[in-house]
Every structure is written in structure tokens, then in C-alpha cells.
């Protein structure tokens, strides 16, 4: 079992390019064994953070550890245990997929020669690329390239996988397969650090998430913890919406919206059962009352105060 509580741990990690603070002092804590969604719109600093974590870019400030190893000093000890997909796959176009993986494995200190071909074949199977193993990389589609990148990350068992937008360019079927693969890896005990700008993707796959916005980590925790950062809402369907609105407003509910016989408002700490009792006592007939399950998107909007668009 891993001797470290966190697969990734950073303290005040920052990276500036000139006057631009791409990463602005973030404290990541990625629990060992979690599937951690690193969420943020394009340009929020996700990829720069990943580059710093992997030792490709020198941080302007801060410290970090990978799998309990202090970085960047102990990179040669930590990185063999890390499989990574950074800002899209990259291979030699004039080699086949299989040749690329063989060569990639041979470039590191840990690629055992005796098992190499077996491991390459297994990784190709795992990402569903066996049939195209003998084709030149330049003939691959974007989705196939992405799969080959994943195969490279899976050439040996890893303790940590860092996957930057792994479903980019994939068709819906491929996207499903990759999500399935990520869940499977997670259940095998691999920590997965998955960056994405797709809220739904994070919501479907991850156990934990961190929300990036303009270089800052606004919040992180389990998905359930994150959802509570947004105020839950209550939806009711009544026979007298006008009176119901007045009752709920008196109770202290804000942001009331009416649509036909339905009313929706922020609970703001009110209990749904109290709202129900007040409505009934006021003579309003209640046919439906639903405390709405909060999505991560609600949490995101609550955290950033804006929608999910490219940061300016």
C-alpha cells in the first residue's frame, strides 16, 4: 500500500509568464486512490499546472510532491510510477503505433526488455487499438492518437495517471470507452488525476474534484462536498402559485421564479419540510415538492460567480 496519503500535494504552487499569472498559488491535495477531476474552462491554468507537476516547467514559487517524492529533485524516482497524457498525444509520424510504443518504453529507465512486446500488445488491446497497431501514426485519426497516448501511459502498472483532457477528439463511443477504462483503473487502485473542461465528464467519472478559475484553485474535495458550495433549490407545483409565492417569500426564500404552476427558489438554509408545512397551513394545495439535486455546474457557477466560459 502507498506510504503517502496524497498522490499529488502542492503548496503555494505558482507559475507566471511575464505579467500573466497562469497558476496563482494553488494547494492541491489529491488523495491516493482517488479519481480526481481537475476542472476549469480553457485558459484557467490546468495544463500549466500539469506541466509544473511533471517537471516540464519550473514553478515561480511553491513546492510539490508526487507520490511522496519531493519534486523536482526526486523526479527520476517519482516519474516512472506516473503515466501521463499532456496536452494531446505526440508520437513519431513515420513509425507505426506499435513501433512508437516500443521505442517509448525503451527510452525510460524502467522499461524491461524481456516483457516489452507483451506489455505493448496488452496496452494496445486495453485501449482498443490492436487492429491498427501496424499502421503508421500519421495515418491515425485524432481519436486513435489519443488512444495511443493512453496506451503509452499504461505500458506498465502506474501508481498515478495524469490525464490532460483524455477524451478530446473522441467520438461518443470512444469517450464512453475511455470513461470505462478510467473507472476500471481507479478500481484497481491507480490514482487518476483527470483534467477536463467538461463538467459532465468529471461528474460521471470522478470521486473528487478541484475547480480552477483564472489560475486559482477555488475549491476542492469530494463531489458531494463541492455540490454543497452552491445553495440548494426547491421546486414546488401548487394550485395557487401567487399565494404560494407570497408564503415562500415571507419564509425567507429568495430568487423565486414562476413558470406556470411551478415555483422554484433558493432554500437559503430553509428546510423543505418547513416550506411544505407553511404552504399547506396557508391553504395552498401542493402536488409536487422537490429539493433539487445540485449539479457540479451549479457549484461552479456559485464558486466563480459566472458561467463556464473561456477565461478572458
Amino acid at each position: 500500500m502507498a506510504s503517502h496519503a496524497f498522490a499529488i500535494e502542492t503548496h503555494g504552487l505558482a507559475k507566471s509568464f511575464g505579467a500573466v499569472h497562469a497558476v496563482d498559488g494553488i494547494d492541491l491535495a489529491v488523495p491516493a486512490g482517488s479519481i480526481y477531476g481537475f476542472l476549469g474552462p480553457n485558459g484557467s491554468g490546468k495544463t500549466t499546472t500539469i506541466r509544473v507537476l511533471l517537471g516540464l516547467v519550473n514553478p515561480s514559487a511553491g513546492t510539490w510532491q508526487l507520490l511522496g517524492h519531493r519534486m523536482p529533485g526526486q523526479a527520476m524516482a517519482a516519474l516512472p510510477e506516473v503515466g501521463a497524457l499532456v496536452e494531446g498525444p505526440a508520437f513519431y509520424p513515420w513509425l507505426t503505433g506499435e513501433e512508437n510504443l516500443v521505442r517509448f518504453d525503451a527510452m525510460g529507465p524502467d522499461g524491461q526488455r524481456q516483457t516489452r512486446h507483451a506489455r505493448v500488445a496488452e496496452a494496445l488491446t486495453r485501449v482498443g487499438l490492436s487492429a491498427a497497431a501496424g499502421r503508421k501514426y500519421k495515418a491515425y485519426s485524432l481519436g486513435m492518437r489519443q488512444r495511443l497516448g493512453l496506451a503509452a501511459a499504461l505500458l506498465r502498472p502506474r501508481q498515478l495517471l495524469v490525464l490532460d483532457e483524455p477524451t478530446n477528439g473522441m467520438d461518443p463511443q470512444g469517450t464512453r470507452e475511455i470513461r470505462h477504462l478510467v473507472r476500471q483503473l481507479g478500481s484497481e487502485g491507480t490514482t487518476v488525476f483527470l483534467s477536463s473542461h467538461l463538467l459532465s465528464e468529471i461528474e460521471q467519472v470522478c470521486t473528487h474534484a478541484g475547480v480552477m478559475h483564472r489560475g486559482k484553485l477555488l475549491a476542492q474535495g469530494t463531489l458531494a462536498e463541492l455540490r454543497t458550495t452552491a445553495t440548494p433549490r426547491l421546486r414546488v407545483e401548487v394550485d395557487d402559485p401567487a399565494r404560494a409565492g407570497a408564503v415562500l417569500e415571507r419564509l425567507g426564500m429568495s430568487h423565486l421564479e414562476r413558470s406556470g404552476a411551478q415555483l422554484t427558489g433558493s432554500l437559503d438554509g430553509l428546510r423543505p419540510e418547513d416550506c411544505c408545512r407553511a404552504l399547506v397551513e396557508a391553504g395552498v394545495g401542493v402536488s409536487l415538492l422537490v429539493p433539487e439535486r445540485l449539479s457540479l455546474e451549479d457549484a461552479f457557477v456559485a464558486l466563480t460567480g459566472e458561467g463556464f466560459d473561456v477565461a478572458g
Partner: protein, 259 residues
Amino acid sequence: MVFGRARVRALLGLLVAVPVFLALAVYLTGGPTHAGGPAFLDQATENGVFTALASLAVTMPFFIPLSVAVVAGDSIAGEASLGTLRYLLVRPSGRSRLLFAKAAVVALFCMVAALVVVLAGIVAGLAFFPHGQVVTLSGTTIPFLDGFGRSLLAALVVGASMFGLAAIGMFASTFTDAPIVAMAMTIGAVVVAAILDGVSQVAFLHPWLFTNYWLAFADLLREPMRSANIWKDLALQGGYAAFFGSVAWARMTSRDVLA
């Protein structure tokens, strides 16, 4: 890996074509013209070995440096432009280790390029011209095998003469993510050196130009062999390699890899 690439094979093919073309041209035009032309060409009809040496003299100023500039300039910048550099570093290959591995391949290429010219020259020369005793530049004769051995030695010297340029190429390659820029900078270095070499007002600089002793291999064909300029050349190449290699290493081990 490098030698499997189409462009590298094309470059080596070009280096094979030059001696063949030279031998054919001399053979078809019926012998030496004594009208200037590249060194050794006049002797080409006397012995096949001289076709090899004439080929070295012809390819030395441009073709061999061009091929070295392509391979050295591509070494790091090529990986950066493909994006494979980030994966090599995360693999992890180690930044220093990767640079040294690339340097070894580039050095090997320098040697192979020069050997290809000499071997193609000897084969083409023997096909068209006699292969008896070799008349040295000093007028004495030496056995054919001795002449053959000296040609191979000349190839090694020429290969090593490229080390300074190769280091400049790798230095350029660590400063850009566009291989074509690194190649152009490297070829630019050859052109600048050639221009400076032709300006007598900066004669004090000439002994320090990495191109200065590029034709010193000819001294191997004297009897006895003269080695003074060859040693100066090797020392100079070592100095260039040490300086530009160090800067390349400092850059490689500290840079942000954003490609």
C-alpha cells in the same frame, strides 16, 4: 532511428552521389584539365584513392556541413516540434541523459557522413581508374593499402572536424522549438565563418574559426604525414564542442518545456 528517416537517407544518398558524379565526369571528359578545380581532382585518373579525397574536398565546404546542420539542428527542436520532447522528459529520460544521447547520435552521424563520402569515392574511383601504388602529394609512392588506410583516416578527421559545427547545431536546437530555425542558424554559422575567412582585415580571427582547418586532412597524403594542423583542428573542434555543448546543457536542464 535517425538513420531510418527518409530525409537522413536522402542526405546520405546525396553524399554517395557526389563521388560517383565526380568520377564519372572526370572519366567521360578524358582526364585532368589542370585548370584549377577542386584539390586532388587532377590526380583522380592516376589512382582511385584520389577520387575519394577529391570527393571529401568537394563536399567538405558545404554538403557535409549541410547534412550535419540538418541532423544536429533537428536533434532537440525536432522532438519539441513533434511534442515528443515532453513525453521523453516525463518518461523520464532525464534531461542531461537525453542531451548526451542526442549528442552521441549526432557525433556518429558526422563520422558516418564522412565515411560514406570516402567509401563511395573509393568504390567509384576503383571502378574507373587504376588502383596501383599511390603517389603522395610529396611525390613519393606508397602501397595502395596504405593509401586506402590514409583515406579512411582522412574520413575520421573530417568527421571529427564537424564536431564544432555539430555542437553549434545542438546549441541552436535547444533554443527553439522549430527545427528549421535551428538548421538555418547552424548553416548561417558556416556561412559567417566562410565570409570571415575571406576577409583579410580580420586575419587575427582566422585561426579561431571552426572552419579554418577543415581541409587539413590533405596533410595525411603527404610523406611523411604532417599532423600539426590536424591536431590544431581537433583541439579547436574540442573547444567549440565544449563551449557550445555546455551552453546547450545549461539551457536544456533549466528551460521550461512548453512545446
